[in-house]
């Protein structure tokens, strides 16, 4: 505890005299994110949705395209309770479309299940979690099929993912990248389709107990 506190204080001090108590930084580079967790002396764990806790929420697709849904309102694993976007929209897991950077087909087969939100109309896909233990960082890889999502109201396909993340239920969402809505740093998938998954992460030195990643079209 002393080591971690000292590391946090050192990190805060390194940001200069104008730094207030809380420091919140978003990341789109997993290496930099993990390096910062290490520099802060924080222990970290991985959740890849492969464990037995997730076996009850496997949604599969047969060769005709029919989906066999297995969903739940919430799943708890490793101290985090994951939820869908709302009480009406449960979560599930389904095989990812694209390989992660550096992943081969065997690696994909061993780690293919990704978290999905089975959303109802007008709801955004969102990936929420709560933890009794204070968290200081959360980050993961996000993937889309085509980079586009069908919009009922405009009856057209629109870019599927300008990513935001909010902590502790705050209405103030944290952004990724300083550019406008088309800043590629903010998008799960570039406008051009078939690109690999992208990493989005956040560190809050004050700690948090809930998070909500939500891409907005």
């Amino acid at each position: 505890m002393i080591t971690r506190t000292a590391a946090l204080l050192a990190f805060l001090a390194s940001l200069g005299p104008t730094a207030a108590s809380a420091v919140v930084i978003t990341y789109t580079d997993e290496t930099a994110y993990l390096a910062q967790l290490g520099a802060l002396g924080l222990e970290h764990w991985s959740e890849n949705f492969e464990g037995a806790a997730w076996d009850g929420v496997r949604t599969t697709v047969d060769f005709t395209g029919h989906r066999d849904y297995h969903v739940a309102a919430a799943v708890t694993n490793l101290g985090i309770t994951w939820q869908g976007p709302s009480y009406m929209s449960p979560l599930s897991t389904s095989p990812r479309f694209h390989l992660l950077p550096g992943e081969d087909s065997a690696g994909w087969a061993a780690n293919k299940w990704g978290l999905v939100a089975v959303t109802r109309r007008s709801e955004v896909d969102a990936f929420k979690g709560t933890s009794a233990n204070t968290l200081y960082g959360i980050g993961g890889w996000f993937d889309t099929l085509s980079g586009y999502k069908y919009d009922e109201d405009s009856a057209s396909y629109i870019p599927a993912g300008h990513m935001f993340v909010s902590l502790n239920g705050s209405l103030a969402a944290n952004d990724f990248g300083a550019g406008g809505d088309t800043d590629p740093n903010k998008l799960i998938n570039a406008i051009t389709s078939n690109t690999p998954p992208r990493f989005f992460g956040i560190i809050d030195t004050d700690g948090f107990n809930s998070f909500n990643f939500f891409p907005i079209s």
Binding site: W45, N48, G114, L115, A117, V118, D125, L145, I188
Partner: protein, 87 residues
């Protein structure tokens, strides 16, 4: 309005969008230790089974011990033959 899936040309289950965004390989940092999933326990006999095995072993050893020190039946004197030395 008919609700359609998120994938081009796909119709999802009534009332649901097919998933369009996937998330995987999260890494999170916590202040306290998070309970790791414990190792799958090896198949070991239940305590009652251990007790049964121990009881069986005791009985088995007891039988062997009894066989070594088997006494003649009541009323029958053990016949002891002395063989003179030197013969």
């Amino acid at each position: 309005m008919t609700e359609t899936g998120g994938f081009p040309g796909e119709t999802s289950e009534p009332g649901f969008y097919a998933p369009i965004v996937y998330a995987d390989n999260f890494t999170f940092a916590a202040a306290q230790a998070v309970s790791e999933p414990g190792p799958v326990p090896a198949t070991v006999p239940e305590p009652s089974t251990w007790a049964s095995m121990a009881t069986g072993l005791v009985l088995l050893l007891g039988m062997r011990r009894n066989r070594r020190t088997k006494l003649p039946a009541d009323g029958v004197q053990a016949k002891v033959e002395l063989v003179p030395q030197g013969q």
